[in-house]
Symmetry: D2
Subunit: 358 residues, 4 copies
């Protein structure tokens, strides 16, 4: 008889529940992880609300820290019992997209090897990490051993928000001496702020109104925080930059208003690096776009994944360059995950990230 585990399942819009589920079989290229720590992402809240559709009964979650319970028979280079993480995005490695440097849009063996968001599988197209066990496909491309001395909580941001936030800075092609604005300092925006600092931005202007997030923004790298409840962020950023505008504006919220503000504070020749998940059409206002002649760039990034990315991010943690552990404001057991969703979805009690331990 199949062994069972506890897992957080999407049932219907508004309901993610903890239930029993069969522990999956391990295919030749897979690895089964015993989850030791995971977390809830803003995207999971979109799923909870029914704004991003997934299959009924799917296990949610895409941020795994765990121990290898079992390796598929073709998987080499790892051992059972090893502590590892895997990225939210699990590239196959072999698709045309991957081999072309586009792992996040990986269609695996399907049409042309390309599929929008195709690299995002956990908690989207296959069972995710909010469970006692997680099956990792294409394990040799995705399992990244956790260096000795790093705790679960220290690496918990690597699979998604650290990788995503840093990608916002990287895709913006920040240069030493750049002035960068980061709109919204939720978990992703905070990581974008940290990433901008790590790439050499020397003036980082964060936009946020929640006091705890304003404080955290300063800790991770913001030189100035503009409170949009107290001042118009566009006017204030133009004032701070003496009318010059910013070199790079990072959108980390997913709204028309912040997308538009990014364009309005951008210098001619600047880059809008977009991380937000938008739920409606976007408008590019002509005024902020100089009729299409301003040498602007708008770039979007989906969280980079794969074991090499994870290795690099954990190296950044191990070296002390960044410390994202303070972003973990709450801790729950897997048994309490429904309660954790309630808190997180409603942004109560100054929550940033919640560590979930089975």
């Amino acid at each position: 008889m199949a062994e069972m585990m506890r897992a957080a399942l999407f049932v219907e819009p508004g309901r993610i529940v903890l239930d029993d589920k069969v522990i999956p079989d391990v295919g030749p290229g897979d690895a089964l992880l015993r989850i030791t720590t995971t977390t809830i992402c803003g995207t999971d809240v979109h799923i909870l609300k029914g704004e991003y559709p997934v299959a009924q009964g799917l296990t949610v979650g895409h941020e795994p820290v765990g121990v290898i319970e079992k390796l598929g028979r073709n998987v080499e280079g790892y051992r059972e019992g090893q502590r590892v993480i895997a990225g939210a995005i699990c590239p196959s490695g072999y698709s045309n997209a991957c081999l072309d440097g586009l792992c996040a849009q990986d269609g695996q063996s399907g049409a042309h090897g390309l599929k929008p968001l195709g690299g995002w599988r956990f908690g989207n197209t296959i069972d995710g990490s909010q469970a006692e066990y997680l099956l990792v496909p294409d394990a040799m491309a995705n399992l990244a051993p956790v260096p000795d001395g790093l705790s679960d909580e220290e690496v918990l941001m690597c699979p998604d928000i650290m990788s995503t936030g840093f990608a916002g800075a990287e895709s913006g092609n920040i240069k030493i001496g750049d002035t960068v604005a980061v709109f919204a300092q939720g978990p992703i925006g905070l990581c974008a702020t940290a990433g901008a600092k790590l790439r050499g931005a020397t003036t980082i202007i964060a936009v946020e109104a929640v006091p705890e997030r304003i404080e955290m923004a300063k800790q991770v790298g913001a030189d100035v925080v503009v409170d949009f409840n107290k001042t118009d962020p566009v006017e204030e950023i133009l004032r701070l930059t003496k009318g010059r505008g910013v070199d790079v504006a990072i959108e980390a919220l997913g709204l028309q208003s912040t997308f538009q503000q990014c364009l309005q504070v951008l210098k001619p020749g600047g880059t809008l690096s977009s991380l937000g998940v938008y739920s409606e059409d976007l408008t590019i206002p002509l005024s902020g776009f100089h009729a299409g002649l301003g040498d602007h760039k708008i770039v979007t990034s989906l969280c980079p994944g794969g074991k090499e990315r994870m290795r690099r991010l954990m190296n950044a943690i191990a070296s002390g360059r960044v410390d994202l552990k303070p972003m973990i404001t709450h801790r729950y057991s897997l048994d309490q995950i429904e309660e954790a969703y309630l808190l997180f979805a409603n942004q109560q009690d100054g929550v940033l990230k919640i560590a979930i331990t089975p």
Copy 2:
């Protein structure tokens, strides 16, 4: 008494007229060109129609081929009588924007050295090239000697449309083996097609309906031309790429419809390289944008200028890599320029570009 010349002046919306104007004095860093050939650009038609405002009495035009009549006293490295061109965009060379690689957004000595479209001066903020004489500012950064053996007409596209169209291909970061769609095959679009070929695109799909332009598109590099009057271009391009989409889509018209089609035919991870001059807000449809998670890039380019750019483009002509002279479909004297505007603005008689000779 000041010497006079003939020049095409913007008078009011709907009226560009040939009139007398004083030949300007030559400042220390300037050069005075005697224009031998110039042309009319689509942007000039926007000016004519009053859609793009310029000062009353300004001489229009930004595509000069000529002979150095007089050099400012500080200008070295040139001689009077030398055949030269200057780009539509005249960088100062010394501004922060220029030194940061953003010549087209050059604010010269003004605020931070940055100004939207600030590098475009001829026929925009200073007198332009549709005249017997043209004053070129910052001459040492802008005068590019015409290689022996190249005629005026052979280099006439370099100052603007060749530089702009090629920039569409360059900004798109085309790689060998890319599939590229170019929407609209007017003068700019044709140059984008030629540029895409020169960068290594191996499947170029042009979108156009005018028979003469379809024919020309094939000559300059299109592998396939989709006639949007006969078939839906989005469907057809997806069919041609077997559902994969294109790596790079170049917008060369300046309309919401083509901007949107570019996004709709773009593969995940692809780049929309925009050259069009838009006259209203743009909408990014959510469906073509994968909620902002498709790793898309939208890049805009203003015509690169400066003498080094001109040198490179003339080298491309001299080597026979591209031949844009067939795009000159009509020839008028400067005296007939009002007639030329009429023809060009109404796109009569299969006109692509008109050579104007004083």
Copy 3:
């Protein structure tokens, strides 16, 4: 009893012989190809001469065109009977090197996923393509279907020399309007010339002395060919560029003399793109290096592989952008391969490339 095939085996320095060998078993991620056409590479001659050591009894060759005979049980997305090629370099897709964009230095599951030249397996660390059958590892990352309408001979250069030569142009970061020198017009140099043209170089100066190669160089894109038997190539290239030097110099021979000449013709700020296989220490002469202050770049490239690279190269062939088939000057059956080696190693009869058909 195991089935046998004919294969060209390295026996000892000076001896590659055709012999019987067991047709290999097909592992879960492998594919077995029935070779329909292959060829001999300059590197194989290094192996023949004992200059590049391989194991005794290894099947030589790394340029396969064939038909899928059998697929491993985990291989999806292909069908038996399908015509395919695989690159000389066979990335795993899953190693840290691959996921970091360094497929050619792929250590597969070994130390850190990095190994010098580790992506080159065929005819180096595993049996190669000069045989009736070839086992392709990591098949899903490496098998590239041949488009209908392309013959074996048309795609025969894709696995190695086209990919390598083009990489010389790509790594040199050629821009539109660049002047490029390519030293030596053997198969690799000719492909570098073709690649330089495809990237937008507008003056290509090839250096060669063999008449057939001079002729071929002009066909594939050289604007000028400097015959080093008739003139000093450094002096001549400086004369042709009016003392300016070249933007990019591509070394395609592997000797100190040509490496040094590349530096001597390079402009300050230029790039030496090296493709040669060197067999001794190299010297950078101080004079050509401006004491290390000339903003020079020296970049080396190993042949890029993987199915996406092959797809792109075959697309370049299919579109008619390049035609490398004329480089096939001789044709032999696999039975005659020892004779083919004799001809090729001694560069007799104007040989460029030899098609070998089992």
Copy 4:
């Protein structure tokens, strides 16, 4: 009668002396600075020793901090009395090299606008900054106002060693998570270490033996310092990286031994970023170069200059991202400069940089 100033002049190998010199006339595009602080560079020691030849009587020095004494009549955007710096490299802005992004190799109006090291004028081809007054050519491209609140000493490293050292990190194309080795922790090497940190290297291994420099290396960003007097740096770096090698190795000394060690610790696919000034031919050992097939890059960088670069570097100082003032270990008046040279040339008393004040 011409006004006189004190200036440090190169007389003959072994002799730089303080002497009287005429304060130069100010041409139309020039600015005259009254020097308030300057310093001595390792390159000046090469000049002193006769290893780098300059004209007899030339004023030495290329690191000016000062006040605008007089502006040329064509210079706009500045005011007399303003505090400014200028980079060691003074681009014209208008040359082909500048307009092509190669300011340091700027030939001004000369042959093709390209000249090796041509952007380096102060103390090389024109009078330099170790004097009471300095004439800055192409002032509008080169004068960078010092932000309020920054002292002379705080910005003293910007003109040369900060720009050079950072360029070593930038040219190495460091990515987040990279492991970087920096060979030698003199002033340039220390700035390379600081720059590597600023670009996101997460493991920085410095190589140095002088205790004061080891200490300073840790302060500016080194995670580990390898003392080459106590251990073999190649072996130690390979041990520290578990045999993987480093992503980027920065050479900051200018010797064959360190150049070679850089190659020996480099991973396949890694980049050697060279900052050293070499005084003899360099050897690339075959063993460290994988026969030219290791996908290695060797890049050299001359100090980037121009007002925009200076603006960015001063921004990095103002934001507190880096603090290089502790590198100033000694202070002398201009009158004592001969004594300062003695100390600096002999690296006495733990000297790193000396502030010189007229």
